[in-house]
Symmetry: C2
Amino acid sequence: MLSKNKIRFIRSLDTKKVREEEDCFLAEGNKLVNDTIRYFDCRLLVATEQWLEQHPDIQSRETITATKEEIRKCSLLKNPQEVIAVYRKPEHPIEIEALKGCLVLALDTVQDPGNLGTIVRIADWFGIRDIVCSETCADIYNPKTVQATMGALARVRVHYTSLADFLRQIHPSPVYGTFLEGNAIYREELSGNGVIVMGNEGNGISEAIKPFVERKLYIPNYPPGAETSESLNVAIATAITCAEFRRRTR
Amino acid sequence: MLSKNKIRFIRSLDTKKVREEEDCFLAEGNKLVNDTIRYFDCRLLVATEQWLEQHPDIQSRETITATKEEIRKCSLLKNPQEVIAVYRKPEHPIEIEALKGCLVLALDTVQDPGNLGTIVRIADWFGIRDIVCSETCADIYNPKTVQATMGALARVRVHYTSLADFLRQIHPSPVYGTFLEGNAIYREELSGNGVIVMGNEGNGISEAIKPFVERKLYIPNYPPGAETSESLNVAIATAITCAEFRRRTR
């Protein structure tokens, strides 16, 4: 039986302020919870009797059996399913020295929750284990973002910090970024380590961050010089860039 | 002055049924209308006095000057701007013989309006001028999709037809598709013409379409064999695939 207080608590995790105060976030849906629960410290699990019977090994600090109707009441999804989990936010400090040997994504004010979630999924696919976000990025624990990661959040560490400080510290790792006036990515040398900076949806990489980007890349349109869209969506540009980095080091 | 009837008419274009009956669709916002109006037959333009003064050469069958408040009343956007256009749907029959020499995208039940819009933008970037959609795909004239194309809709022809019939007719053009059990795209021969089939968000390419796909491609994750997400989002996979085709023919 799910109390009104619990319903209110779960729904309140839609706001960043509450997520920060409570240090936790929401994951919803059979597949997402199934894919993520063994990676996180589960503070509260709300599920139907049937779901719990089918998942006898699930670990949670508190488990509440609920009807589908009760789950619908606390769900933020259009089509609520049989399970909702409240996870404690994971702690993962930035380990600069270790990151110097890896390929890392850095996001400069990527503000759309869906884009951020999609980028986490892309990072997961291409074996990028750390994403460093400016404080001005969307919150990775926004329920929309968590859903968009499709479980990839369990395998990718997302950090928030001053991007300028991070880029200063990561030196001498190469820092790449995509710019409309950059060099065609296919003709540039790409390394197995380094930082790929992706910019804001409307404004690209900010003036404060530009000086750190010594290798400017451009995803050429086709045929060269044809009239086309002004730019690619940031998640799309991230995907093509990561794919090309990994193609080279294959 | 914008009548109640006109407001009702504009808002009703949110539904596919009305768009089909009226044979028209909506484009909203200063940038989108600016980027698209010269490509379409504009049936109705609703704009502020200031916008109209700044765009003296704009052609429309009917133009109504409205206040921002009136525009807000008919807008489907969260943040309405100074202009709304109602365009007649363009007519562009599928020209099979011409398409045999081109690279074409075919979408098999891509159902998310945002994904479809993003795919149109990707096609535009990579010089793919025709997208053939199954009748079960999202409607390209859904206002959400039109917005997501960011104006690319003006340069990409989107057709709806039986995908099986189209693939039968396009023979002997090569037909590619992405499958989790396909061959690594980087090791396959890719041609400058042919059809790239992309499948549904949840289920991939349907059983009815699979037999037409003779070249099965796979976007390898990194490092090979690592635990990762089950798949990439369909727009992301489309982007990486199109980029790789165009990289080869550069």
